[in-house]
């Protein structure tokens, strides 16, 4: 059977980056994509951090359709009827290509067009049904009656990766290890976005929200500003929603969030132009799939490369880096003419030497740490609550400020042994 070098399943950032690198080295690559066009099934929050991948990507993203450079980072704790907001900015963030907001349907399509110009075959409207096998090794893909034989199959088919599952590289997906993200794109004039979010044109803001936005369950809200749209969404743990009694109605969360006083004004007059949803890995290091097998490599979300550390959420730069490292591995394997797991496992070594597995491994304890309900109920209720009482001047004398605050903190249980012990674990993450 005639084989091409590589078939890549899924035209997301991992798959397209892999193809880009392989095409540079002259390997025969086909990328297959189930959507109408590359990007049409892809969703992010979201933003892409560029620094970690700078040395890897070469000219790949030159001229890419970034939305806005993130120069303002904000976090809010939402109580039921009050909130606290932290607003951070720094010259450093303005002066460097640190992170950009993007919209994937545009971004991925642009990257795929670059690939096509390089002579890579990108086949849309193509759903892969199964893997082909030869002597216990993956040997290609099958879609309907069509078969494509290849030395290596790259599974870049996203968080739900059917390819990794069919190859036996990923265990059953458990609700505890996944969250669902739900997002609306809201169209607003560019100047309105600049004014409301206090940024210049081309500058943007990333805002994460904790607490009442998820009705106290694991997860949070987010806002990312794009050129003339705003991405607003909610991420909520699947297990955590199921565990509520009665179970939480996922679809209602985003609407309640948008109705909040703090949010409503930001979006006033805007039109919703899209509603999307996708699952996100929250398992961290322990949620990773096996990274390769004979004739197959798993990249990006398909492998579980995503990292939520509470104050930041990352995924896309892992996808790009893993796609490029998969390509480097395959280039080596081609030279050796050995596509077995023996050669392909150098992919894992590459990842271990890079930020991808080092960052994910160093945050190994994060999912357990974040499982603490206090982050989603107790603190988001208490901190704005303290301020509300400290700042409110009613009838009668106010009393001593410090003493009142201290009594509040003491009686709230914030200094209880259980909570201090939980916080002490911060040294592990």
């Amino acid at each position: 059977m005639d084989k091409i070098d590589v078939v890549i399943v899924g035209a997301g950032l991992a798959g397209l980056s892999c193809a880009y690198k392989l095409a540079d080295k002259g390997l025969q690559v086909i990328v297959v994509e189930r959507g109408d066009f590359p990007g049409s099934k892809n969703v992010t929050g979201g933003r892409l951090y560029l620094m970690p991948i700078k040395s890897l990507i070469g000219d790949m993203l030159d001229g890419a359709p970034f939305e806005r450079k993130v120069v303002r980072e904000q976090w809010s704790l939402f109580g039921r009827e009050n909130s606290i907001n932290v607003d951070f900015t720094a010259n450093k963030f303005r002066d460097h290509d640190h992170s950009y907001t993007i919209l994937r349907a545009r971004f991925d399509r642009w990257l795929s067009e670059r690939l096509i110009a390089k002579g890579v075959f990108v086949i849309p409207k193509y759903r892969v049904d199964d893997l082909l096998w030869e002597n216990g090794s993956v040997a290609g893909i099958k879609a309907g009656n069509e078969e494509i034989y290849a030395h290596v199959v790259v599974a870049s088919d996203g968080a739900l990766s059917f390819m990794a599952e069919k190859a036996g590289l990923r265990p059953k997906m458990m609700p505890k290890q996944y969250a669902v993200g739900m997002k609306e794109i809201i169209e607003l004039p560019e100047e309105k976005i600049n004014d409301r979010f206090n940024v210049e044109s081309d500058e943007g803001c990333a805002h994460l929200y904790l607490g009442d936005v998820t009705k106290g369950v694991f997860g949070g809200g987010f806002i990312y500003t794009n050129k003339n749209t705003v991405s607003i969404g909610i991420v909520a743990g699947i297990q955590a929603m199921m565990a509520k009694d009665p179970p939480l109605d996922a679809y209602t969360l985003l609407d309640s969030f948008k109705e909040r006083y703090e949010i409503k004004r930001l979006l006033n007059g805007g039109n919703t132009v899209e509603y999307s949803a996708h699952v996100i890995q929250e398992g961290g290091y322990n949620g990773l799939s096996k990274l390769c097998g004979d004739g197959i490599i798993v990249t990006g979300d398909a492998a579980g490369f995503a990292l939520n550390v509470g104050v930041t959420v990352r995924g896309m730069e892992f996808a790009i880096a893993s796609g490029i490292m998969a390509a480097e591995t395959i280039i080596d394997a081609k030279e050796k003419d050995d596509f077995s797991v023996r050669t392909l496992s150098s992919y894992e070594n590459r990842l271990k030497k890079s930020f991808v597995l080092q960052d994910i491994e160093s945050s190994k304890e994060m999912p357990d740490f974040l499982e603490n309900d206090d982050f989603f109920t107790f603190y988001p209720e208490r901190f704005p609550g303290f301020l509300e009482r400290a700042l409110w001047f009613g009838e009668g004398p106010k009393g001593k400020m410090g003493k009142t605050l201290w009594n509040e903190i003491k009686s709230s249980g914030m200094l209880s042994f259980k909570r201090l012990k939980a916080l002490y674990r911060i040294k592990n993450i």
Partner: protein, 92 residues
Amino acid sequence: MKIEEKLAIDAFKTDKESHIRINHDICRTKCTLKYCLSVCPGHLYEYNEEMKEITVEYAGCLECGTCRIACQKGAIEWVYPRGEYGVQYRYG
């Protein structure tokens, strides 16, 4: 904004056949909690009182995969829609 209105904004190409199949035997006999009714971001699952079974409005599926993960009893057989069908994100 109603969920139906939100879904109406999205671009869908609907296949003749559903990419989501519910195994009603498993659903009836093994599942009491029916998480599919609450976890779906499109609110597409419903309990049909007449037929005494769960139905799903597959045409509005955002292909997020949440139901597939939440249904640990294995009553939901969920695959991607055939090539070119299903939701087509324009922003993403």
